[in-house]
């Protein structure tokens, strides 16, 4: 591959609309998901380091900020998973019609909040 491959247009040139908003959210949630995996790794490593060290994690997870972050990570995983399914349908060649793409986007967005609610409050 040449060292001067074409770049994708940068974000600020796009006119904001649902499709682009959902697309950038997909990439943003991938970063939050990585943060979630790092939290999970810390959880495991603190477990191995003993009860005293683990108590710091318990302090964090019972705090408001801790709960906010964990609910946020749940939403991030929910969104990325559901919108990922939407992407898989596109990969198979379905759902490109503008109306369908907008509708599936709205369904994904609403479902991501429903899934987060189900995980934390049921």
């Amino acid at each position: 591959m040449s060292s001067k491959s074409p770049l994708s247009p940068h974000l600020q040139v796009y006119k904001w609309q649902l499709s682009s908003l959902l697309s950038i959210t997909h990439r943003m949630t991938s970063v939050f998901n990585l943060a979630g995996m790092i939290f999970l790794t810390l959880w495991i490593l603190l477990l191995i380091s003993g009860q005293n060290t683990f108590s710091y994690f318990e302090m964090f997870s019972s705090s408001f900020i801790g709960k906010f972050i964990f609910v946020g990570i749940t939403w991030s995983f929910s969104y990325h998973l559901l919108n990922g399914i939407r992407h898989l349908f596109w990969d198979l060649g379905y759902g490109y019609d503008l109306k369908v793409a907008n509708l599936s986007g709205i369904i994904v967005l609403l479902s991501s909040f429903v899934l987060t609610f189900l995980v934390w409050f049921i």
């Binding site: 491959s5 399914i85 995980v119």
Partner: protein, 109 residues
């Protein structure tokens, strides 16, 4: 198969495999993060739980590495920097799963 196409396909295969295991994980996540020390140890003393979480670590970081390289392809023009970025992601996607899975195995012993 073309190298780029096979990378694209493997990224999707990992995505499909992640759907069921991640759903399982999400419905345990709220308990997990609120477990006491002993409850957490008990949870990881179960071979099925450790196996599924290990699978998530392997699949998620494999999926992430390929996904990130697609993003680097889009936004990093300089080939040297892109290679460096890909190499860093490769390092992360090996170190974190190995650390997490090793720790879970040690805990279960």
């Amino acid at each position: 198969m073309n190298h780029v196409v096979s990378k694209w396909l493997m990224q999707r295969v990992a995505a499909v495999l992640l759907i069921p295991v991640l759903l399982w994980f999400l419905f345990h996540f709220d308990n997990l993060m609120n477990f006491s020390y002993l409850e957490a140890l008990q949870f990881l003393n179960n071979r099925f739980n450790v196996a599924v979480i290990s699978l998530i670590f392997i699949l998620a970081f494999f999926h992430m590495r390929l996904g990130m390289s697609e993003i680097f392809e889009d936004y990093i023009q300089d080939e040297k920097i892109r290679k460096l970025a890909n190499l860093s992601i490769l390092g992360i996607s090996i170190i974190i799963p190995v650390a997490a899975i090793t720790a879970m195995i040690i805990l279960a012993l």
